[in-house]
């Protein structure tokens, strides 16, 4: 089984390998600024169906965690104007049952809804800029 993560860029969905805090995907983010919003989607083509999709924040990429730092929202459509108004409330540390995992609804049997992610650097905090890692969790039969 090979799950695929897409990111929306220039109106197209392309497969990605990571979300980098400093350069490519989130852009340069100064203290007290919000990054650009990334729109990602999980697609598992070789499963009859996936259910119970969740997204975990497992590595902050060197950014000091705050409960309004890592934004997340979902939509069933792509809208480049959406800015997340909800936030991860903790780092999940790869725990399936972590209360910090965010439930993501299905768009169809093999795909998640579109997930909107951004980063807000708190004022007064040093931004190191590394690879932010998120982890998908899902059930399949």
């Amino acid at each position: 089984m090979k799950p695929i993560t897409y990111i929306v860029q220039d109106g197209k969905k392309i497969q990605i390998n990571y979300l980098d805090a400093k350069s490519s995907t989130f852009g340069m983010v100064a203290p007290f600024e919000s990054s650009q919003t990334n729109i990602i989607q999980l697609y598992v083509p070789d499963a009859a169906a996936i259910t119970n999709i969740r997204l975990a924040l497992i590595n902050t990429g060197g950014i000091v965690f705050g409960n309004s730092t890592f934004g997340i929202d979902t939509r069933s459509f792509i809208d480049l104007n959406v800015v997340p108004e909800s936030f991860f409330q903790g780092v999940s540390n790869k725990s399936v049952n972590s209360p910090y995992n965010i439930k993501i609804s299905n768009l169809n049997r093999s795909s998640s809804r579109y997930v909107y992610l951004n980063v807000n650097i708190p004022i007064g905090q040093e931004f190191i800029g590394g690879t932010i890692r998120y982890q998908w969790l899902f059930d399949y039969a």
Binding site: K2, A56, K94, V96, W136, L137, D139
Partner: protein, 111 residues
């Protein structure tokens, strides 16, 4: 060996090594989870579910199986018996229509 094992309505013994669940799920009269020889058997003649919970880091093209479960649907409730893939902990989950989750756990010694 970890896998679901079922008896079909025609008496055939089938496992996940033999068949895709989608092909057999509506023809099952008994279902069990074989957890390295420890059999977790559900009541006969129910509406069954089974599955695995997987994790995948963004960009990784492989999954890790975190746990697997078998369960039955009773009215508006789904009862799952879940076994952690690494620790063999067994967890009972009861979900109702509002997706509220109740659970109880016990530690299971692995062989």
């Amino acid at each position: 060996m970890k896998r679901w094992e079922a008896t079909a309505e025609n008496g055939d013994f089938v496992t996940e090594d033999d068949l895709n669940w989608e092909l057999v799920k509506n023809k099952v009269k008994s279902l069990a989870l074989n957890n390295n020889g420890q059999m977790i058997k559900l009541p006969d003649n129910c509406e069954y579910i089974q599955g695995k919970t997987a994790s995948a880091t963004i960009g990784s093209n492989k999954i890790d199986v975190e746990s697997r479960f078998v369960g039955i649907i009773l009215g508006n409730k789904t009862i799952k018996i879940r076994v952690d893939e690494k620790t063999n902990d067994i967890q009972i989950e009861i979900e109702d229509e509002t997706n509220h989750l109740h659970s109880s756990r016990r530690k299971e010694n692995s062989n």
